[in-house]
Subunit: 346 residues, 2 copies
DNA sequence: GTGAAAGCGCTAACAC
DNA sequence: GTGTTAGCGCTTTCAC
């Protein structure tokens, strides 16, 4: 690091021009006489000179960096969103600082603060504080503080009263797609497993579940909606509870709050040597786990690439199109695979 | 962005001190009279002032950023390495720029170049050019060019003649662990599926496989070692080929070049209604897929957190401890789960 | 213990 | 077309 790196001045001196001219050649979109341009370019080439982006950032006040805070990149839902954002950001010349909050609020705060200091041009956040049905006052204040200096965009989350960018899948619609589908193939007894009460993504789904059940005049059995969590073992636990507590009246279809929960539920069935055809399973998120699972999961898919594009566009255009619908909702799609069977005879 | 942000000069003026003093207060490790320190601190607080890290980077010539280039963060092997690196880097005050090369050499080059311009203090690279048994000349030159200005560290890769940092799991040892284990539970007919010839991580494993087979005086059947690729469908294809071409003489154990390939092999067996107990399966990498799989995979585990720590330490200490073993090899461990069964009677 | 001032490497007016 | 110059916001000698 400490080795004196070569600068625009070194190039200028050798090319017998001013630093400004070198800068113009670098920028490419200024009038420079072809002859001098060539001369400068050849010297740049000769030394493999690379302009210092930090210095450029300081003068231009743009870092071309976006911060991305999420709970855990090893979770395929997050990594699939991330990669789409990154791909699209790259086409715009932006790089991403990835910060894993590990579901730790303090860590999340720390990351947010550091990103702001690093002068990222925008922050994308998923999980954590933006998915609390009862937002934490302090956490929200931190966010709104940050929003004073740079645009913040939430993916699949929303905080009432915080006027920031938000883009999310219509999860209620997702549940609707699932239930309509299950009903269409003859199911009337439908369970919903997993999630945690108080997390928006869960609450939205549970509410939609109840409302759809009622709209279809299906039986609503409280014991068929079981909170537990978001990972595989949550799925196992919830399935176990479902089977233990409803011996006389089991559902025929099981919706998981996400793909992972369904995989847990499948495993619990496996452990109990229950024929998987006893139930139809539907996941949520269409992570790559849904394809890895055996059977492959029918699941609700986010439109990942659209989320990625919209997120970056919203963030980067935030300076121009002020207050132009900061709030985008994206339709989910039902991805039908092998985990559901048709009810025959009924 | 364009709103004039508050600077140390604003703080200085209001505190009736010089900017230098504010800077000292910020740094925290300089002698400042307690009284003035408090006064300055309170004003910093009052405005929620956050120093501009870009400006600081320019003067101090340190960005506290590390670049990480890998093929695809949605691949759990990479995300599991990444997250360990990120966690540890954070404790050192470093943030990570994550760049997905999508297995595209040009994209990889572009990322490397941009990271250098951004003045990251080091680059960690996985996949792509660093895993070619016959390295591409141009690609290697790019790397060595970059190594002139900043330290580069390869994870699970190595290029002969490139004197850069490297940290990798002893994969030959991993294969040894697997084969010794399989032999210990009575297997003598062992296949190796997946991978691509010419990719170091494959070549190392294939070579170790052959040498171990011979060391144990087991039969080496060429048709039991099948190249195909690294993903699930590669696993399916390889298993299919194994079953079709060796009808008279099938192995009893199947090693996958990685977990994903084994999951594909399992699926192919499922498709053919082959009892999974017909074969013992062993994966490689111990990604979280190994636990998700049904049955859960016995697999070779990388020591992810150790890799993360060592990688960051090597990179950040590179200025001091010049040329002190730049090359670290880490032992794998065998993670025994449910995908192998003991051969009885033999 | 504190301040003045010179950079860090680049860009952007503004002259010429 | 090209050069001069004044910053961008911070840190760091070097005086005092």
């Amino acid at each position: 690091m400490k080795k004196k790196s070569i600068t625009i001045y070194d190039i200028a001196r050798e090319a017998k021009v001013s630093s400004a001219t070198v800068s113009r050649v670098l920028a490419g979109n200024y009038p420079v006489k072809e002859e001098t341009r060539k001369r400068v370019a050849s010297i740049i080439d000769k030394y493999g000179f690379q302009p210092n982006a930090v210095a450029r950032s300081l003068t231009k006040r743009e870092t071309r960096m976006i911060g991305f805070v999420l709970p855990d990149i090893t979770n395929p839902f997050f990594s699939q969103v991330f990669i789409e954002v990154e791909k699209y950001a790259l086409t715009k010349g932006y790089a991403l600082l990835l910060c894993n909050s590990m579901n730790d609020s303090e860590m999340e705060s720390k990351h947010l603060k550091l990103l702001a200091e690093r002068q990222v041009e925008g922050i994308i956040i998923m999980g954590g504080r933006i998915n609390k049905s009862a937002p934490d006052r302090v956490e929200v204040n931190e966010l709104s503080e940050i929003m004073n200096s740079l645009p913040v965009l939430m993916i699949n989350g929303k905080i009432e009263g915080l006027d920031c960018y938000s883009i999310r899948t219509d999860e209620a619609k997702g549940i609707e797609l699932i239930i309509n589908y299950l009903v269409s193939i003859g199911h009337e007894k439908i369970a919903l497993l997993g999630g945690i009460e108080g997390i928006t993504t869960t609450d939205i789904k549970v509410e939609a579940y109840k409302s759809l059940i009622s709209r279809h005049h299906l039986p609503f059995v409280p014991g068929w909606q079981i909170y537990s969590g978001f990972d595989i073992s949550s799925g196992e636990q919830a399935m176990d509870k479902l089977l233990r507590n409803n011996k006389q009246d089991l559902p025929t279809a099981v919706i998981g709050i996400n793909d992972m929960v369904v995989i847990g539920a499948l495993r619990e069935c496996g452990r109990r040597k229950i024929d998987l055809n006893e139930f139809s399973f539907v996941g949520f998120d269409n992570t790559n786990l849904a394809e890895i699972s055996n059977p492959q999961l029918t699941t609700v898919s986010h439109q990942y690439s659209e989320i990625g594009r919209k997120a970056v566009d919203l963030l980067l255009n935030s300076k121009n199109e002020k207050h132009k619908n900061k709030d985008v909702e994206i339709n989910p799609k039902l991805e039908i695979r092998d985990s559901c069977y048709e009810m025959i005879g009924n």
